[in-house]
C-alpha cells in the first residue's frame, strides 16, 4: 500500500518538476511548482516526518510560491518564453543533467548497495513533533536563534533592495 502511494507521489513530483522546467508560460511553471511541493510534502509525511511535511506545505507551497506569483505579476510579463529549448545549449544541458543523475545514483548505489530500510525510522511511540521540539530547543538552540537573525536580516535586506527609489 505504501508503495503505491509512494509511486503516485513520486510520479506527480517528477511530472510537475518537468513542467516547471519546460513550461512556456511562467505562471504555469509557478503552478506546477506548487504541485511539486505538495507531492514532496506528501513524501515527507509518508516517511514519518509529519511536522516537516506541514512546514513544507505552509512555507513552500504556501508562501514561497505565492511570492513567486507576486513577482511574476508585478513584472507584468506576458509570460511567454520562446526558444530556450532549441539549440545546442539545451541539448548539452540535458546531457549534463543525465550524466549527473547517473553519477548521483551511482554514488549511493555503489557504496552501500541498494538500501532497504524501514521507512518509518523514528523511535516508536514518539511523534515527529516531540522529537523536533526536544532537539530544537536543546541541542540546536543556537542555530535556531541564528536562523531567526538570518530571517530578520533578510527582511531588512529585501525591504531595502525592493524599495522604489
Amino acid at each position: 500500500m505504501g508503495q503505491i502511494v509512494f509511486a503516485l507521489l513520486a510520479l506527480v513530483a517528477v511530472a510537475s518538476a518537468l513542467v516547471v522546467v519546460a513550461a512556456r508560460r511562467v505562471v504555469a511553471s509557478a503552478l506546477a511548482l506548487v504541485l511539486c511541493f505538495l507531492a514532496v510534502a506528501g513524501l515527507f509525511i509518508l516517511q514519518g516526518a509529519e511536522f516537516l511535511g506541514a512546514v513544507q506545505i505552509m512555507l513552500y507551497a504556501g508562501s514561497i510560491v505565492v511570492l513567486f506569483v507576486f513577482v511574476v505579476m508585478l513584472a507584468n510579463l506576458r509570460g511567454e518564453e520562446r526558444g530556450d529549448w532549441n539549440g545546442p545549449r539545451a541539448f548539452g544541458a540535458a546531457l549534463l543533467g543525465g550524466v549527473v543523475l547517473a553519477q548521483l545514483v551511482a554514488v549511493f548505489a555503489r557504496t552501500r548497495g541498494w538500501l532497504a530500510a524501514p521507512s518509518n525510522g523514528l523511535a516508536p511511540g514518539e511523534g515527529h513533533i516531540q522529537v523536533l521540539g526536544k532537539v530544537l530547543f536543546r541541542d540546536y538552540l543556537l542555530p535556531f536563534e541564528i536562523l531567526s537573525v538570518i530571517l530578520l536580516a533578510a527582511l531588512f535586506g529585501l525591504i531595502v533592495i525592493g524599495r522604489r527609489k
Binding site: 548539452g92 544541458a93 549534463l96 549527473v100 553519477q103 548521483l104 551511482a106 554514488v107 555503489r110
Partner: protein, 644 residues
C-alpha cells in the same frame, strides 16, 4: 728617490691635462685649452731630460705603484721601469709632443673642437708614455690599446666627415687584428713562463724550447706589424692622413707607429733566442720598405707621400732589428722621429699657405713665398734621403752596414733600392711644390677663396690652413714655424755627434750588432751614398729641369704605374676577400637575430596573448554560462569520486 718619483710624474702630467681639458674644456678653457696641455708636456719633457741624465749613471730602476692583479701565483703590479732605452723614448715622445702641441696652437686655431683636440693629444701622450714606461707585458698591452684608442679619436677628429670617421674605424680595426696576435703572444708567454714581468721573462727566454719562442716572437711581431703599419697591416696609415696634420706628425711619424719597433727592441732577449723570428722580421721589414717606396713614387697627395714614406722607414727599422742592429734601429727611430715630424708639420705649413690643398701637381715655385717652410722642409728631405751630414744618413748607415756585415746581401740590395726610391720621391715632392717650372700663383689666384675659410669649426679636409682674411700665399705664424726650425736643427745635428754616444748609451741594454770587418763593407757604404744621390739627381732632372717627362715614363709602363698608383690594389683585395664576406655574415646574423631570435621571443609573447584572448572569451558575463561551468565541475568531481 727623485728618479722614482719622476717615473710616475712624467705620464701623470699629461693625464692631468687630459682631465682638465676633457672635463672642463667646454666651459673653462675653450680657446685657452693649449695652456694646460703645453705646460704639462713641457714639464714632462724636462722630467724626461732628468731621467735621461739619471739613466747615464744608473742602468735601470723600477717603481712599483701598487698591486694590480693578484690571483694565486699570478702577480701583476703596476710597475714602471726605466733604462736607457726607455729614457730615449721618453725624450722623443715628450719632445716631439711638445713641439706638436706648440704647432697646433697655430694650426688648429679657431677650430670648434679646440679643447677636445688638446685633450686627446694629452691622452695620447699619457698613453704613449705609459706604454714606454711599462714594466710588464700586461701593462704594455693595456696602453698599447690606449694608444690605439687615442689614434682613433684623433684620426676621426673631424667626425662629421665620413672619410675621416671611416679612416678612424679602419685604423682601429686593422690595429685590432694586430692586437689579437699580440694578445695571443702574451698568452703563450704566460702559459710558458707563468709571468708577465719583463725581467723574469727575459731571464727565462733562453731556456724555452725553440719552437715556442719562435711562435711567441712571431705573434708579438704580428702586433708590432699592426701598430707599426708593416705589410700586410699597413693599410690604415695612409687613410689616417684624414686626421689633422699635427696628429699625423705626432702619432703616425714619431711616436705611436714606433711602438712596434720599441716593443721588439725591448723583447730583444726573446727575439735573439729565435733566429727564425728575426729573419721574418727582417724580411717583412725590407718588403714593406720597398713596397711603400714604390707606391710613394706615383702619389700626388703630399701627406700620402709622407705616410708611405713613414711605412717605408719603419720597414727599415724592422730590417735593422731583424739583422741584429738593435742600436741602429732605435737610432733610426730617433732621427726619423725628428725629420718625419718636420716633414709632416712642414706639409701642414704648406697647406696652410695655399688654403688646404695637398695635391703636389697643383703647386709650384712656392719657395719665394714661404722661405722658412721651404728651408726646413728641404732639410728634412735631405735627412730622409740619407744625405751626409744630415741625421738620416748616419742612422740608415748603421742599419745598412749591419745588414751587409751580417751577410744578408739580398736584403741589403733591396734596402738600397728602397733608399734610392726614398730620395727620389721625397725630392720629387720638394721640386714639385717649392721649385719647379709651374707657378702656384697661376694655379691659385689670390686671395684664397672665402669658401675654404668656412672649413673652420668642423669638417675641412685639412683645409685648416686657410685664413681667408689674408689673401695669397703666405708664411705660417711663428708658433708653427718655431717647431719646424727646432726639428730641422735636430735633423741636422742629431746625426754625427750623437751616433757614438748613442751607441754606447743604448749598448748597455741592447745587444751589439755583428761588426766583423767584411770585405766590401766600405764599397757597400759608398753604394748606398751613390744611390741616394742618384735618386735626388733623377728627381732634380725630371721635376726641376724638365728633361725627362714623367708622363711618358708612366705611359711606357702602364701596368707598373697602375700598380704603384693604386697601392698594389691591397685595399681592394681586402675589401673583396675580407670586408665583403664579413659584412654579408653580419647581415645574415642580423636577419637571424631579427627573424629567429626575436621571432621566438615575440612568438612566445604572441602565443601567450593569443591564449589569453581565447580564454578571455569564457568570461561572457552571463550567469547561465557560469552556472554551466559549475555544473560541469560538479560532474567532473563526481566522476573523480566515482573513480576511486
Amino acid at each position: 728617490m727623485i728618479a722614482d718619483q719622476l717615473l710616475w710624474l712624467i705620464p701623470a702630467l699629461p693625464f692631468a691635462a687630459f682631465l682638465v681639458n676633457g672635463l672642463l674644456g667646454r666651459r673653462l678653457t675653450r680657446n685657452a685649452a693649449h695652456w694646460p696641455a703645453l705646460a704639462a708636456v713641457g714639464l714632462a719633457f724636462s722630467c724626461a731630460l732628468l731621467v735621461l741624465k739619471h739613466a747615464t749613471e744608473h742602468t735601470a730602476w723600477q717603481v712599483t705603484l701598487f698591486t694590480w692583479i693578484k690571483v694565486g701565483s699570478f702577480d701583476v703590479p703596476l710597475k714602471l721601469s726605466a733604462d736607457p732605452l726607455t729614457a730615449v723614448m721618453l725624450v722623443i715622445v715628450t719632445g716631439v709632443s711638445f713641439l706638436v702641441h706648440l704647432y697646433s696652437v697655430g694650426y688648429m686655431h679657431g677650430d670648434g673642437g679646440y679643447h677636445r683636440f688638446f685633450a686627446y693629444l694629452s691622452l695620447f701622450t699619457f698613453s704613449m708614455l705609459m706604454l714606454v714606461l711599462s714594466g710588464n707585458f700586461l701593462l704594455l698591452y693595456v696602453f698599447w690599446e690606449a694608444v690605439g684608442l687615442s689614434s682613433y679619436l684623433l684620426i676621426g677628429f673631424w667626425f662629421h666627415k665620413k672619410s675621416a670617421a671611416d679612416a678612424g674605424k679602419k685604423a682601429f680595426l686593422v690595429n685590432r687584428v694586430g692586437d689579437f696576435g699580440f694578445a695571443l703572444g702574451i698568452l703563450l708567454l704566460i702559459a710558458n713562463t707563468g709571468t708577465v714581468d719583463y725581467q723574469e721573462v727575459f731571464k727565462m727566454a733562453p731556456q724555452l724550447p725553440q719552437a715556442t719562442v719562435t711562435m711567441i716572437c712571431l705573434l708579438l711581431f704580428v702586433g708590432a706589424a699592426g701598430k707599426s703599419a708593416q705589410f700586410p697591416l699597413h693599410v690604415w696609415l695612409p687613410d689616417a692622413m684624414e686626421g689633422p696634420t699635427p696628429v699625423s706628425a705626432l702619432i703616425h711619424a714619431a711616436t705611436m707607429v714606433t711602438a712596434g719597433v720599441y716593443m721588439v727592441a725591448r723583447c730583444n732577449a726573446l727575439f735573439m733566442a729565435s733566429p727564425t723570428a728575426m729573419q721574418v722580421v727582417a724580411v717583412v721589414g725590407t718588403l714593406t720598405a720597398v713596397m711603400a717606396a714604390a707606391i710613394a713614387l706615383t702619389q700626388t697627395d703630399l701627406k700620402r707621400i709622407m705616410a708611405y714614406s713613414t711605412v717605408s722607414q719603419l720597414g727599415f727599422m724592422f730590417l735593422g732589428l731583424g739583422v741584429g742592429a738593435w742600436v741602429g734601429a732605435i737610432f733610426h727611430l730617433f732621427t726619423h722621429a725628428f725629420f718625419k715630424a718636420l716633414l709632416f708639420l712642414g706639409s701642414g705649413s704648406v697647406m696652410h699657405a695655399i688654403g688646404g690643398d695637398c695635391d703636389i701637381t697643383r703647386q709650384g715655385r712656392l719657395a719665394r713665398h714661404i722661405p722658412w717652410t721651404t728651408t726646413t722642409f728641404v732639410v728634412g728631405s735631405l735627412a730622409l734621403a740619407g744625405i751626409f751630414p744630415f741625421a738620416g744618413f748616419f742612422s740608415k748607415e748603421m742599419i745598412l752596414g749591419a745588414a751587409f756585415a751580417g751577410h744578408h746581401y739580398v736584403l741589403f740590395g733591396f734596402a738600397v733600392l728602397a733608399a734610392g726610391g726614398t730620395a727620389f720621391y721625397v725630392f720629387r715632392a720638394v721640386f714639385s711644390v717649392f721649385f719647379g717650372r709651374r707657378d702656384a700663383d697661376a694655379l691659385h689666384p689670390a686671395p684664397v677663396a672665402a669658401a675654404a675659410h668656412g672649413g673652420h669649426g668642423d669638417a675641412g679636409h685639412d683645409d685648416h690652413g686657410s685664413h681667408g682674411s689674408h689673401g695669397g700665399v703666405h708664411e705660417s705664424p711663428w708658433v708653427m714655424l718655431a717647431p719646424l726650425v727646432i726639428l730641422a736643427a735636430m735633423s741636422f745635428f742629431a746625426g754625427w755627434p750623437l751616433e757614438h754616444g748613442f751607441g754606447e748609451f743604448l749598448g748597455r741594454v741592447l745587444p751589439a750588432a755583428e761588426h766583423g770587418e767584411v770585405p766590401g763593407a766600405l764599397a757597400a757604404e759608398a753604394l748606398a751614398i751613390v744611390v741616394a744621390l742618384g735618386g735626388l739627381t733623377v728627381a732634380w732632372v725630371t721635376y726641376q729641369k724638365g728633361r725627362i717627362d714623367p708622363e711618358r715614363i708612366a705611359a711606357s709602363w702602364p701596368r707598373l704605374y697602375a700598380l704603384s698608383l693604386n697601392k698594389f690594389y691591397i685595399d681592394e683585395f681586402y675589401a673583396a676577400v675580407i670586408v665583403r664576406p664579413l659584412l654579408a655574415l653580419a647581415r645574415g646574423a642580423l636577419r637571424f637575430d631579427l627573424g629567429i631570435v626575436d621571432g621566438i621571443v615575440n612568438g612566445v609573447a604572441a602565443t601567450a596573448r593569443g591564449w589569453g584572448a581565447s580564454l578571455a572569451r569564457l568570461q561572457t558575463g552571463r550567469v547561465r554560462d557560469y552556472l554551466l561551468f559549475m555544473a560541469l565541475g560538479l560532474a567532473a568531481v563526481l566522476g573523480v569520486l566515482l573513480w576511486r
